[in-house]
């Protein structure tokens, strides 16, 4: 048997059930021993990665898919590009706003400054999200859609 055959055995066998033949080879072959050691570390890493929690479909996944299947291909592509460009922007803006709000609410401030500051921020957020359904509308999203030079479609978000 060649080293390569032993290495294949190394990959297939569990560490606690090494056959005698392989054990004898590993004792005298440093290269295969090193291979076995590396494989042990890498396969352990794969086992850990396999135990990672899986991402779940977000709410409405199937409905979105069915709507997509119902639309003609051209419209579908345009809609997708729109969602890709805009969706991430909105998600980012929402996250940013949430962080700012949390900071505003949570930062220890001296005296009465804290109340109005967070209230202002909340009011701003309300106004922004009520005006067109998109948070952070004031200085990012609206001004960009209003600008004809931006390569973003003019249609509003079809789903929210």
């Amino acid at each position: 048997m060649r080293c390569d055959d032993f290495r294949m055995m190394v990959e297939e066998e569990r560490a606690d059930a090494v056959p005698e033949l392989l054990r004898a080879h590993l004792e005298k072959c440093a290269a295969c021993r090193s291979y076995a050691e590396d494989w042990g570390r890498v396969s352990e890493a794969f086992r850990a990665a396999a135990a990672d929690p899986l991402p779940e479909p977000t709410f409405g996944f199937t409905d979105r898919l069915l709507r997509r299947l119902a639309s003609p291909p051209g419209a579908e592509r345009a809609a997708r590009e729109f969602v890709e460009r805009v969706g991430r922007r909105v998600a980012f803006a929402t996250m940013l706003l949430a962080t700012l709000t949390l900071l505003a609410l949570g930062l220890p401030t001296s005296g009465p400054v804290r109340e109005p500051a967070s209230a202002d921020l909340m009011a701003q957020a309300d106004q922004a999200s009520n005006s067109n359904g998109i948070v952070f509308a004031d200085d990012t999203w609206v001004s960009q859609t209003g600008n004809p030079h931006r390569p973003i479609p003019q249609a509003g978000p079809s789903e929210k």
């Binding site: 294949m8 990665a49 898919l65 299947l69």
Partner: protein, 206 residues
């Protein structure tokens, strides 16, 4: 996944309805198989933010091709094949702009990689940190592997499929899968070794 004979019969009915033009029945199929599709995509591309988009696209492809499904293999296998092909295209596009092997990485990249792979567990949080380092190592190893290797390694080491199942999905015979798997593992370990010997001074390990 279809398991009982009843489930299977129901699935066949849904498939036939979709083939006859009933889009809504496709939703039933999606709901039954989405977990498996998400798992396969996540393990293949290793990017959470891409999984849902890729899953949508894979299901669209499956829908458009469903008239060609002839019940020879299970629907799950057929769907896995479509998903795999879609991810394969994605990976090839994605990696066209990246370095392939560790030894092609710049000094900085190698240092980062080594720091990740060799990151010692912190006291008290051993489990989480160690696991993160290992998962990171897998990401790096797979990112550097050629797309074909990555696919077969993912199916075996992350999806935990048997060589028989892999053979069915890839439409290869079992011995070919075994040979390809061994080659992919060997290349991966060689690449890792090459990286470690070329990288900054090796640290002492247990």
């Amino acid at each position: 996944m279809a398991t009982t004979p009843n489930d299977l019969a129901q699935e066949v009915e849904w498939i036939q309805r979709v083939q006859a033009g009933d889009r809504e029945s496709f939703g039933r199929l999606v709901e039954r198989h989405q977990r498996r599709v998400f798992s396969l995509i996540f393990h293949l591309v290793r990017r959470r933010d891409e999984v849902e988009d890729l899953a949508q696209e894979a299901f669209v492809k499956a829908f458009l091709a469903i008239r060609s499904y002839n019940f020879q293999s299970s629907f799950g296998t057929w769907l896995a094949r479509i998903t795999l092909n879609h991810c394969y295209d994605y990976l090839r596009r994605e990696r066209a702009s990246r370095v392939r092997y560790f030894w092609q990485m710049g000094e900085e990249g190698r240092k980062q990689m080594e720091a990740r792979a060799e990151r010692p567990p912190k006291e008290g949080r051993e489990g989480a940190d160690e696991r993160l380092a290992r998962t990171d190592l897998v990401d790096q190893l797979l990112a550097r592997a050629p797309a074909d290797d990555r696919i077969i390694l993912t199916m075996k080491e992350l999806e935990d499929l048997s060589v028989e199942e892999i053979a069915e999905i890839l439409d290869l015979n079992v011995s070919t899968v075994k040979v390809r798997l061994h080659r992919a593992r060997k290349r991966m370990l060689e690449d890792w070794k090459k990286y470690r010997s070329k990288g900054p001074a090796p640290r002492s390990r247990k």
